[in-house]
Symmetry: C2
Subunit: 421 residues, 2 copies
């Protein structure tokens, strides 16, 4: 393992202000974009995520964001090593996303495999969507954009779009990202359901709820079934961490960032991550409401986005399915002249995907309340009693979603239940 | 592509009597086993399969089987190229099978990557099980052996047994066998349900049945759902072609051969292949029966084997699950102190696997009657009317199995329906 500040044998070195200026000065596309020289630039380390260094570099003419992987989990420290190769997979995924969903992900200016470093366009004045939702900001274009992103990237890397040999080649490539998958496997699908050192929750207020989840047999079966899906079902290239902290927004633009957890997995994991984070925002609103800012209308808007995200995704995904495509699944030779069978196939596919989405969404909700990594939506509610009340409602819905996922027939059932929970 | 009889640039050359003798004479483990010199050996090419050269070499002291991949599909000819790398994957799978199910697969004496050639122990007096069943031979040890093989190999390469990183490495490796997977994808999951040049059936007797299947919407949806599973669900290392032609038997021994279609796929595909071929044997018996050899008792035995294969497999698989294991699925931390949840998890897992098994079994039955490659169980019934009557009953059950696979609660329901079809 490489320690911060040292150069490893293979040339890797975590960047700092000075080394980064010198490095960027050698990259023509970057110096053109920034203008001026290294002395004219400002460099700011802003990584507030869990894993990496992130620098914002601004010059007289423009800015770039530089993301560099560290050889360990930043949130925890050097005791938890993590391979630099995740930058390789993030770069691969960003390339696929730029091709499949142009305009909805940051443009890559430079990638350095040795430094595990990606230089991207600076997204400004975009902010992390989660932060905007904490201040009750609406994003009128968001659902339209994110459903396009999900439909294009998931459909475009599925067996509906890719010939089988090409898809197997892609699956094999992303199998290399197993260390990042393992984080998800442990932190989302296992630890919140057992006593584990990494876990934390609003205590003592939620001690009974956490214990209840650890002793809930049907729930443990359900989360384990979802884990098996995550471990073995290579449906499409997932972003792998598609929460509202991985989405940057303005009123009119949406950009999906940080696909370092990318791998071929079950589509419902991405769609569910998004749905989960909208629902967590919904449940957090009562914790942020004040007499002057009651949040009731905003809560209604958030739930409307849950439904809009699902409905828009389905509509766009099926439109792609109806179009010309090269994939081996559901061959045109069997369905082109049989519209009833085609419709039945699509209905059944989407019903199964809804079930997965609901299950994975529930998993994501529970881990953010009982596991290692929490969301600021809830964390920023200072009064623990008030926070726990929000979290308890979210847990109750999540439990129901996961165990009853096969019986829930529509996303409207979820939002209806959320409003009543 | 390399033509037969020529040496390719990389050293590959299809073997013949003379070249093989010289080659084997250089392999110490082989000469020891055979004894004598090349002039004392007999060499016989016996490949009756669809893809490869197979030589039996006998010496004064013993014999070996030599299997060599050809760069095309033998059944069709050089117009259908097929990569030699399938020998590499067969060798990998044979190694895994020897480790996981010792004694139930042939021992490998030598593997030559360049020649795509495997030298194995000669299995004698074993015969291909399918041939024995055509003459109504019972194999009293078969169910015990094959259920051990399936349980050990499928469990042992699943997420229940393998840590996630190791399993992803294995998945990635076997993704390279995509050309063999493609044969399955096309010949089993697609072509029998459309008009395709490769298809053939007992005509004109089954013309209406073939047309009915091509126009059966729910069936086309079902086969396409199974195809998606085959394309995307990497549950365990499959043999990939586990029919009674890939099993060699004596009264007391069972050996599984020919895993060149091996890859990480849905377990139900292997179990289903076996069940399908037992059912096809069952339906073929009326075509072989004579007044002196009515076959009624043998038919009862065959159906009893269908149930014994499923029941034994389940019992052994669950026993492995109950034991010490290193896999990431269904972690002990969640289930060790919750026997009810453990039992529920196993019940639900096996219910889902039964559904898959029934669906894949149906797919295998249909392809052997309407697709390219047929079974001698049925092909050797000379009278086309009599053969078509057997095939029609098999098709009727297969159609029901596939479309109703989610509703069928036990293998006994299948054998009961078979007896009544």
């Amino acid at each position: 393992m490489t320690e911060t500040g040292k150069t490893s044998d293979n040339g890797y070195r975590p960047q700092d202000d000075g080394s980064l200026r010198a490095y960027l000065a050698g990259l023509a596309p970057v110096t053109t974009l920034l203008s001026g020289g290294p002395a004219d630039w400002t460099v700011e380390e802003v990584g507030d995520g869990n894993l990496n260094l992130v620098f914002i570099v601004r010059g007289p003419a423009g800015g770039v964001a530089v993301k560099q992987a560290l050889p360990y989990v930043r949130l925890v420290g050097e005791s938890w090593p993590l391979p630099l190769s995740r930058a390789h997979f993030e770069h691969l995924a960003l390339s696929d996303h730029n091709r499949l969903a142009p305009g909805l992900v940051p443009r890559v200016l430079h990638y350095d495999e040795t430094l595990a470093l990606i230089v991207m366009e600076l997204l400004q004045p975009h902010i992390i969507m989660r932060r905007g939702m904490i201040t009750a900001t609406r994003y009128p274009a968001f659902a339209e954009h994110i459903t396009t992103f999900m439909a294009q990237t998931l459909f475009g890397t599925s067996d509906l779009a890719l010939p089988a040999d090409e898809k197997k080649t892609q699956i094999a490539t992303f199998c290399g990202n197993h260390a990042l998958c393992k984080i998800t496997e442990d932190l989302i699908f296992t630890e919140p359901y057992m006593i584990a050192e990494n876990n934390r929750w609003t205590s003592p207020q939620l001690d009974d709820a956490a214990k209840g989840i650890r002793e809930d047999g049907p729930l443990k079966v359900a989360i384990s079934e979802l884990k098996v899906k995550f471990l073995s079902e290579a449906q499409a290239l997932l972003h792998g961490d598609l929460h509202t902290g991985s989405i940057m927004v303005t009123e009119s633009e949406t950009k999906v960032i940080d696909p370092e957890f990318a791998f071929y997995g079950p589509m419902g994991f991405d769609v569910g991550a998004l749905i989960a984070n909208l629902l967590l925002s919904y449940f957090s609103q009562d914790g942020h409401a004040t007499p002057n800012d009651p949040r009731e209308e905003y809560k209604t808007w958030v739930l409307s986005q849950v439904e809009a995200c699902w409905t828009g995704f389905v509509q766009k995904f099926l439109a792609l399915w109806d179009g010309a495509r090269a994939g081996d699944a559901y061959p045109a030779a069997l369905f082109a002249n049989d519209p009833d069978a085609h419709r039945l196939a699509q209905e059944r596919f989407m019903r199964a995907l809804l079930t997965d989405t609901i299950g994975f969404a529930a998993a994501k909700m529970i881990r953010r309340i009982l596991g290692l990594a929490h969301n600021i939506d809830l964390e920023w509610i200072e009064d623990p009693h008030r926070r726990a009340a929000c979290e308890r409602r979210a847990l109750r819905l999540a439990r129901q979603m996961m165990v009853e996922r096969h019986a829930i027939a529509s996303m409207g059932d979820i939002t209806g239940a959320a409003a009543k929970t």
